[in-house]
């Protein structure tokens, strides 16, 4: 299963490199990547499409891992960084840094925003063993709306020249993304650390009391997983803005196939999330070419009906 998903991730990147305003054959893609051809198509592949595909792979993986961890922490398969306002918190932090003229601190500010949202959402969950979907979603809606209002506030007082660039944080867009390879390294690091706690996380999904009596150091593990989920969300948001529903749909779909054992679910979700966002972004930039859709529009259009379907089934 993990092997098949790894192959799918590689294939999705290959397709992303081949498809676009200039169609390039896979053979030429391979030549552009590994050969030393310096013609136009090679520079399109290496300088435009590859960084974007890597960013999509990393962001999709980070969001899927963040979603898996939040679902374990809240013991609810509807938890997701976008739905619960973590993405909004991260976007708020990054926008605030930009507005105050500290563009260099956008990433740490995004992390602070995601951490604040995490504290807010999970702080309300203290001492509870499982959240009802209703309570979870109400909290998420309110927290997300709060951050949405803050973002609107910042947009309305921002200088006109900055607004277009700031909208990116709201929508989720990979067309202006940079630092994709750093985000990929971050994904590998987050996943590696999360894997250290994978067995504990599987037990935590059965409730804190059960995990504790089976020998899990609940305080240490929950703290680590909170930090990882917030960090993964913050990094994903600083690279691509608020891309929604990957963190919800991907772990859910993967879980249907391989179960909830986090030792397998976490790496599988990372690969599937990465592959899915690469495919979604390739569609976003080729569906209405030469115009480009922000990928967040596409994931939200697909994600909302899926979310409603899952909600209806769980009720």
């Amino acid at each position: 299963m993990i092997g098949a998903l790894a192959a799918a991730a590689v294939a999705s990147v290959a397709v992303a490199l081949a498809i676009g305003s200039v169609d390039i054959t896979l053979a030429n893609v391979v030549r552009a990547l590994f050969g030393n051809g310096d013609d136009a198509s090679a520079s399109v592949v290496r300088e435009l499409r590859l960084p974007r595909a890597i960013a999509a792979l990393a962001v999709g993986g980070l969001l899927a891992v963040a979603g898996s961890l939040m679902q374990v922490l809240l013991r609810n398969p509807l938890a997701d960084p976008f739905v619960l306002g973590l993405s909004g918190g991260a976007a708020c932090g990054a926008l605030g840094a930009l507005l105050l003229g500290f563009a260099a601190f956008a990433t740490p500010a995004a992390f602070a925003g995601a951490a604040a949202a995490t504290l807010l959402v999970f702080g309300l969950a203290r001492g509870r063993d499982a959240w009802s979907p209703t309570r979870l979603l109400l909290t998420g809606v309110v927290v997300a709306a709060g951050f949405g209002a803050l973002i609107m506030l910042m947009l309305s007082i921002a200088p006109d020249t900055q607004v277009r660039g700031m909208l990116f944080w709201l929508i989720g867009d990979l067309s202006v993304s940079s630092h994709g390879e750093r985000a990929l390294l971050a994904l590998i690091a987050v996943l590696a650390i999360a894997m250290l706690f994978a067995r504990d996380a599987t037990l935590l999904a059965r409730g804190e009391a059960t995990a504790a009596t089976l020998g899990v150091n609940v305080r240490v593990v929950t703290l680590a997983l909170h930090v990882l989920a917030a960090a993964a969300t913050a990094i994903a948001v600083t690279v691509a803005g608020s891309v929604g529903f990957i963190g919800l749909v991907v772990p859910h779909a993967v879980r249907l196939v391989i179960g909830n054992d986090q030792r397998f679910l976490l790496p599988a979700a990372a690969l599937a999330g990465g592959a899915l966002l690469v495919v979604a972004d390739t569609l976003a930039r080729s569906l209405v070419a030469p115009a480009q859709l922000p990928v967040g529009v596409l994931t939200a259009l697909a994600g909302v009906p899926i979310f409603l379907f899952l909600l209806r089934r769980s009720a």
């Binding site: 599987t202 009596t213 089976l214 020998g215």
Partner: protein, 253 residues
């Protein structure tokens, strides 16, 4: 003594549930905790499981203070079936039973075939062998309860704490589960401590009883503790003991 409770005070949100509570449980004993709703039975079991610290006093496991054990060492010795379990995800019954093997599996190892066999045996013990591959979310309340119990049986700790283990069970499975637990105590040399509301079943299976009331707690051999007089006072409800061939039934007077 495998489990010792010395001079323990339990308090929740400023309310003292009991004070100066002392008793000791030995391997081979099957204890029942009986008492009215809201008196603190669940809090006591959570405290014995190490999930919360007592307001004062000491709890010892195999002669060592509770907090001196690492979480994993403790999990090999003390296990708890909570009153309610969380089935938020579509795990199979077998996956849940295998989770009970967690403290037996070294940190960087996968579960061995022996662990899987132990989990399957535990499922069979609670009459769930045929449900092993079923998604727990599709099971009935009683079936889920038995699967949760299988997790504790697979964990197989020296001290098994159970919070109302017979919740949701039909009468046949109530008897089967309590027979199994009493047998684990007597022939398996485990210590069983469970809260239970069915006084007839409590009297049928217990070797010792702890009467947990709003006015105080008393503990001793089941035959001395579980009398119509004691239980009527405990629940403030007149009860009569009706002897029958299999033991004593307690009925409201």
């Amino acid at each position: 003594m495998i489990l010792t409770v010395e001079n323990v005070t339990l308090a929740v949100a400023g309310r003292t549930l009991c004070s100066a509570l002392s008793f000791a449980v030995d391997a081979g004993e099957c204890w029942v905790i009986v008492g009215p709703n809201g008196v603190g039975k669940t809090t006591l079991l959570a405290t014995l499981a190490g999930l919360r610290a007592p307001a004062s006093g000491a709890i010892g496991i195999e002669g060592r203070a509770m907090r001196e054990w690492t979480p994993r060492e403790r999990a090999l010795r003390v296990g708890l079936l909570p009153q309610d379990t969380v089935d938020a995800f579509p795990d199979t019954a077998l996956e849940i039973a295998i989770a009970g093997r967690h403290p037996h599996v070294a940190r960087w190892r996968a579960e061995s075939p022996d662990d899987v066999a132990a989990a399957r045996t535990a499922l069979a013990d609670v009459d769930c062998a045929g449900l092993a591959e079923r998604n727990v979310q599709t099971l009935s309340g009683g079936e889920r309860r038995r699967v949760a119990l299988a997790m504790l049986l697979a964990q197989d700790p020296a001290i098994m704490l159970l919070d109302e283990p017979t919740n949701h069970l039909d009468v046949a499975h109530e008897v089967r589960v309590l027979d199994l637990l009493a047998r684990r105590a007597s022939t398996g040399q485990r210590a069983i401590v469970m809260s239970i509301h069915d006084l007839t079943l409590a009297a049928r299976h217990a070797s010792h009883a702890l009467l947990f009331g709003f006015e105080g707690v008393s503990a001793g051999p089941a035959s001395e503790m579980l009398t119509a007089r004691n239980l009527s006072a405990l629940y403030r409800q007149a009860l009569v003991a009706v002897p029958h061939a299999g033991g004593t039934a307690f009925l409201p007077a």
